[in-house]
C-alpha cells in the first residue's frame, strides 16, 4: 500500500460526472470546416507552411514553430486550405487570432505515416523530436509542449513520474473515459515516457470516484513498473502541486517547477498521444472531449478532430441553444465562458459544458466580507484569501504580493465557499495583472532613466574633452609664440642677415602648424582604424529586438495559461531588454562618433 499524504483545504463540489459517462466514446465526425489556430498553447505561434488553395492530407504538417518554444500544427483530416484568417479562438477574452481554415474533402485520407517499430533502438533525443514533430502539448491543462517538459534541466533528475488521471473537476470525464477504454494506449505512452526519463518510480494517480477507470488501468498496468494509486476524491487533487503533495508529501518550491524536487506530472491524455505518435506515427490530430451540461440531450465523450468548431461538437450531443445560459470551455471551477459556438476545439480542450441557468445559476450580488475564514479553510495553497481580497480591492498590491498572491493557483475553492458571494479569484487575477503591468512599466521606466543618465554622462564627457583640447591648443599656441619671439630676439641680438631671418621665421611658422595639427591627428586614428560598422550594429539591434518580442509573447501566453515557467520567462525578458538596450546604446554611440567625424 502506497503511503498517501493529504493537502490542506479543498472542497467537494457536486461531481456531475455521471451524465457523460453513460455512453462509450463516440467519434464527433468531420465538420464542414476545421479551424486550426496557429497558436494553441503557451510558446510561440506556428508559421504556416502551406498556402490557401493547397490540398493537404490528414496528419500533414501545416505550420511549425521555427524559433522559440512550440510544436507544429497538423491537418486533422484531408482537404483544402481555404484561408488563413483572424478568427475567434478559445480564450477567456474572446479574442481572435490567426487560424488556418481547412475544408475537409470527406476522404479523411492519412498522409504517409512512419511508425517506430522499436523506439528503444533510437536515441532519446530522436524520440523526443518525434514527440515534438507530432505536435504534442500537455492535454490536461496549460498545454506546455510535451517534448520540452520531458527534457528537464540537466541538473534535475526526475525520480518520480506521476501520470495524472485524478480529473478532479466536476463534469469533466474525458480522462476517465480515456482510461476506461484506452488503458493500453495510455500504458504504451507511459512506457515511452518512463524510458525517456528513467524515473525510479512511476505512479498513476486516479481519484476514487472512477472505479471503472481504476479497474481498466489496473489490468493494463499488471506486470509493469507503474504503480496505480487511488487518491481520495477532493477538489483540487488533480492540480499538479496538490497531486505531488498527495503522492510524495513534498511541495514544489514557490516559483519553481516539479523537476526541482525530482517529480514530473503528465496527463493520461498526453500519454496516449505519445503512444500514438511513436507506435503509430500519428501526429496529434484529435482528442477526447467531454460534452455535457443540461443544455445537451445526449452528453458524452467524443473523439474530436482538433479544429472542430464547438457548434459541430455540441450538435453531436443534441444541443439546445435556447436552454443554455452559459457555455463553458473546461470545467465549472477553472474553465472560462465562451461568447459563441464558433470557436474550435484545440489541443487543450477537455470539456464543453452547455449549462442551463438552473444548474449553474448566476451568483447573487457580492456582499461585504464578514471575515468568516471559510476561504482560508479551503485554500489548498494555505493562502489568506480574504486578506488577499482586501489588498487587491484596495490596490495595495505590495501587500498582496507579500502574502504570496502569485502562489494562488486560481482553483476557485475560495469563491466556491464564500458566503458573501465575492468573486475572489477574479480579484486575484486583477491584482496579478496589475502587478505584471506595473512591473513591465517599471522596467521600461528604468530603461529610460538609465538611457538618459548614460546620455548625460556622455555629453559631459564630450564637453570635457572639447574643453581639454581647446586648452591644449591655447597652451601650444602660447608656447610657439614665446619660442618665436625668443628666436626673433636672438636673431636680432646676433645681428643675422635679414634674408636668413625671414627663412627662420618661415620654419617656425611650419613647426607651429605641425604642433597645431597634432591634437587633431591624435583624435583621428581611433576612428580611422576602428570605424564603427553601423550596419552590423543595426542588425544586432534588430536581432535583439526580435528575440525580445518572441520572449515577451511567450511570457504573455505563459501568463494567460498560468504556466509554471512564468518566472523563468520573466527573467529571460528582462535579460533581453538589457540586451536590446546595450545594442541601442552601441548604435547611438557609433552614430554619434560618425557624426563627430563628419563634423571634423
Amino acid at each position: 500500500m502506497t503511503q498517501l499524504w493529504s493537502f490542506p483545504g479543498g472542497i467537494h463540489p457536486a461531481e456531475n460526472k455521471r451524465q457523460s459517462t453513460g455512453r462509450a466514446i463516440r467519434k464527433a465526425g468531420i465538420p464542414d470546416r476545421l479551424i486550426l489556430p496557429l497558436q494553441q498553447h503557451i510558446g510561440a505561434p506556428a508559421e504556416p507552411l502551406v498556402q490557401p488553395g493547397d490540398k493537404v492530407l490528414k496528419g500533414q504538417k501545416l505550420a511549425d514553430v521555427t524559433s522559440g518554444m512550440g510544436v507544429p500544427v497538423h491537418a486533422s483530416t484531408s482537404g483544402t486550405i481555404i484561408g488563413i484568417e483572424l478568427l475567434p479562438v478559445p480564450h477567456p477574452s474572446g479574442m481572435s487570432d490567426w487560424c488556418m481554415v481547412l475544408e475537409p474533402d470527406g476522404d479523411d485520407a492519412w498522409c504517409e505515416l512512419s511508425p517506430v517499430a522499436d523506439y528503444r533502438k533510437l536515441h532519446r533525443d530522436e524520440v523526443l523530436n518525434l514527440i515534438r514533430e507530432a505536435g504534442i502539448s500537455g492535454m490536461g491543462g496549460a498545454g506546455f509542449p510535451t517534448s520540452i517538459k520531458l527534457r528537464p534541466p540537466s541538473d534535475r533528475k526526475v525520480s518520480t513520474l506521476i501520470i495524472n488521471g485524478a480529473e478532479c473537476e466536476p463534469y469533466i470525464t474525458a480522462d476517465d473515459m480515456t482510461m476506461r477504454e484506452r488503458a493500453d494506449q495510455i500504458h504504451g505512452g507511459i512506457k515511452i515516457m518512463s524510458w525517456i526519463l528513467r524515473p525510479e518510480r512511476c505512479v498513476i494517480a486516479i481519484e476514487d470516484n472512477k472505479p471503472e477507470a481504476i479497474e481498466a488501468m489496473r489490468k493494463a498496468s499488471e506486470g509493469t513498473q507503474a504503480e496505480l494509486v487511488v487518491v481520495p476524491t477532493k477538489y483540487p487533487s488533480g492540480g499538479e502541486k496538490q497531486l505531488i503533495q498527495i503522492l510524495t508529501g513534498m511541495e514544489v518550491p514557490s516559483g519553481g517547477i516539479p523537476a526541482d524536487i525530482g517529480v514530473m506530472c503528465q496527463n493520461v491524455g498526453t500519454a496516449m498521444a505519445v503512444y500514438r505518435a511513436i507506435n503509430r506515427g500519428e501526429p496529434l490530430v484529435s482528442r477526447i472531449t467531454t460534452v455535457t451540461g443540461a443544455g445537451v440531450d445526449d452528453p458524452g465523450n467524443f473523439e474530436t478532430l482538433i479544429g472542430t468548431p464547438a457548434r459541430h461538437l455540441l450538435s453531436q450531443a443534441g444541443f439546445h441553444p435556447e436552454r443554455i445560459s452559459r457555455l463553458i470551455l473546461g470545467g465549472p471551477m477553472m474553465g472560462y465562458t465562451l461568447e459563441d459556438t464558433s470557436v474550435p476545439v484545440i489541443k487543450t480542450t477537455n470539456c464543453l459544458i452547455a449549462a442551463t441557468e438552473k444548474e449553474l445559476p448566476t451568483p447573487p450580488p457580492e456582499q461585504p466580507c464578514i471575515r468568516c475564514g471559510m476561504c482560508a479553510e479551503v485554500c489548498p495553497m494555505e493562502l489568506l484569501p480574504q486578506q488577499l481580497f482586501w489588498h487587491a480591492k484596495a490596490q495595495d498590491f505590495d501587500r498582496a504580493e507579500h502574502l504570496n498572491l502569485f502562489d494562488c493557483i486560481e482553483c476557485g475553492a475560495c469563491s466556491y465557499v464564500c458566503p458573501s458571494s465575492i468573486p475572489l479569484v477574479q480579484y486575484y487575477r486583477y491584482a496579478k495583472g496589475e502587478i505584471r503591468t506595473q512591473r513591465a512599466e517599471q522596467i521600461k521606466a528604468d530603461r529610460a532613466r538609465e538611457r538618459f543618465e548614460a546620455r548625460q554622462a556622455r555629453l559631459e564627457r564630450e564637453q570635457e574633452e572639447t574643453e581639454r583640447r581647446r586648452e591644449e591648443r591655447a597652451r601650444a599656441a602660447a608656447e610657439a609664440q614665446k619660442k618665436k619671439q625668443a628666436e626673433a630676439e636672438k636673431a636680432v641680438a646676433k645681428g643675422d642677415a635679414t634674408d636668413e631671418r625671414s627663412a627662420r621665421a618661415a620654419m617656425v611658422q611650419q613647426a607651429l602648424e605641425r604642433k597645431k595639427a597634432r591634437p587633431a591627428a591624435a583624435a583621428t586614428p581611433e576612428s580611422a582604424t576602428d570605424k564603427p560598422d553601423i550596419e552590423a550594429l543595426e542588425k544586432q539591434l534588430n536581432q535583439a529586438k526580435g528575440k525580445l518580442e518572441t520572449m515577451e509573447s511567450m511570457l504573455d501566453e505563459a501568463r494567460v495559461a498560468q504556466a509554471d515557467n512564468v518566472e523563468k520567462l520573466e527573467r529571460a525578458v528582462t535579460k533581453n531588454l538589457e540586451r536590446v538596450k546595450r545594442a541601442e546604446d552601441a548604435l547611438t554611440d557609433a552614430r554619434k562618433q560618425l557624426e563627430t567625424e563628419a563634423g571634423q
Binding site: Q245, G256, P368, R371, L384, L403, S415, P419, V425
Partner: protein, 348 residues
C-alpha cells in the same frame, strides 16, 4: 442566444451569510429556552425588543447611508446583534438600557465603521460594555433569581417592569448573580458560607449551569455544522480553566473552576460572541491566541478586577489586538519555507 460571461468558478456551493446567521440564531434557541425556563420571561422579552430595535435601527441607518435597505437587512446580522444583547442583558433591565445598548451597538460599533464586515469591535459587546459602565445599578440589580417559569413573575408583569420606566425591578424577583455573589462575599466569608446563598442552589449555580450547558450544546452544533471552528471556543475555555487551576485552587479566595465555566456568560461568550468572525482573528494560529487571551482576560477581570463577569471587556480588549495577531500569524503557504510575517519590505 446571449450567453453569460462570467469569471470562474462557475459552480458555487456556499451557504449565504443570511443562512449562516439564521443557523446562529437557531443555535441560541436552546439557551434562550432554558433561560426562560429558569429565569422567567425577561430574556425572551429582551430578545424580542432588542432584535426589533436592532433591525429597525439598522434599516434607518442604511436609509441614511443611502444603502439598499432590504439587501443588507436580509443578511440577518443586525438580528444576531440584537439577539446576543437580549440574551446577555439582565432579565429585568429597563427598556431604555436595552435601547441604549442596541442603538450604540448598531450605530456606533457597526454602521459608523462602515457596516457589516468593517467593524473592528464586536457590536453587541460594545453595546453591553457601554450600558454596564454607564448604568451600573440597572445592570447589576435587575438579574432574575432562578425560580423556574411557573414561579416567576408572569409575562405581563415582566413586560410592565421592563417598560415601566423604573431603574430597578421589584426586589423580590431579583437576585445577585452567582459570580457577583461569590466575588463580593468571599472576602469576608468562607466558600461554604458563600455557597449557602440561594443563587447557587444545589448544583454549581442554580439555573446558570443549565443555561451554559444549553449554549454549549448550541455552540457544538455550530462547530459540527462548520459555522465556526473549534479553535476559539476551545482555547478560550482551556485558558480560563487553566487559569482557574493555576490561581484559584483556594475556594475561600477565588471562585472554583466549575463556577467559572458554568456561570455567567462563559459558554455564550465562548461559542457565540468571541467567534464573531468580523472582529476575531483569522488564521488558526491566530484564533488560538485570540481565544486563549480572552480566556485569560476573563479570569483576570473576574478574579482581580471590579466586575463579576468579564466576557464583554475581554472580547473587546482582544478585538483591539486582532490586527496585531493577524499580522504575525499568517499560515505558511505551500512551497514556502516559512510564513511571511510583517509588512512588505520589512523584516519579520
Amino acid at each position: 442566444m446571449s450567453l453569460v460571461q462570467q469569471s470562474s468558478p462557475h459552480a458555487h456551493g456556499a451557504r449565504p451569510t443570511s443562512r449562516v446567521m439564521l443557523i446562529v440564531i437557531l443555535a441560541t434557541l436552546p439557551g434562550l429556552l432554558v433561560q426562560t425556563w429558569f429565569f422567567g420571561w425577561g430574556n425572551l422579552i429582551n430578545v424580542l425588543w432588542c432584535v426589533l430595535l436592532a433591525v429597525g435601527t439598522e434599516a434607518a441607518i442604511l436609509k441614511l447611508r443611502r444603502k439598499p435597505v432590504a439587501f443588507f437587512l436580509r443578511d440577518n446580522t443586525a438580528a444576531v446583534t440584537g439577539l446576543l444583547l437580549g440574551l446577555s442583558l439582565p432579565q429585568f433591565a429597563p427598556w431604555w438600557v436595552s435601547a441604549v445598548a442596541v442603538i450604540s451597538a448598531i450605530v456606533l460599533a457597526k454602521q459608523l465603521y462602515g457596516g457589516l464586515g468593517a467593524n473592528p469591535f464586536n457590536p453587541a459587546m460594545v453595546g453591553y460594555a457601554l450600558v454596564l459602565v454607564s448604568f451600573p445599578v440597572a445592570m447589576t440589580t435587575n438579574w432574575a433569581g432562578a425560580v423556574t417559569l411557573a414561579n416567576a413573575p408572569g409575562f405581563g408583569e415582566t413586560l410592565s417592569t421592563i417598560f415601566g420606566g423604573q431603574a430597578a425591578a421589584v426586589d423580590a424577583w431579583t437576585m445577585a448573580t452567582p459570580l457577583d455573589e461569590y466575588k463580593h462575599k468571599i472576602a469576608s466569608h468562607t466558600a461554604t458560607e458563600v455557597l449557602q446563598h440561594p443563587t447557587f442552589g444545589a448544583g454549581v449555580a442554580k439555573g446558570w449551569e443549565w443555561v451554559n450547558g444549553a449554549f454549549l450544546l448550541g455552540g457544538l452544533a455550530l462547530v459540527a455544522l462548520r459555522i465556526i471552528t473549534w479553535h476559539i471556543p476551545l482555547s478560550l475555555l482551556a485558558a480560563l480553566g487553566l487559569m482557574s487551576l493555576a490561581f484559584g485552587s483556594n475556594a475561600d479566595q477565588y471562585a472554583p473552576l466549575s463556577l467559572h465555566l458554568l456561570a455567567g456568560g462563559t459558554m455564550l461568550g465562548a461559542f457565540f460572541i468571541a467567534t464573531d468572525p468580523v472582529s476575531a482573528a483569522t488564521s488558526h494560529q491566530g484564533k488560538l491566541i485570540y481565544g486563549a487571551s480572552i480566556g485569560v482576560l476573563i479570569y483576570t477581570i473576574r478574579s482581580w478586577g471590579n466586575y463579576p463577569d468579564a466576557v464583554a471587556f475581554s472580547v473587546l480588549l482582544m478585538n483591539f489586538a486582532v490586527p496585531f495577531i493577524d499580522h504575525y500569524t499568517p499560515p505558511r503557504t505551500y512551497g514556502h519555507h516559512k510564513p511571511r510575517r510583517g509588512i512588505p519590505g520589512k523584516a519579520g
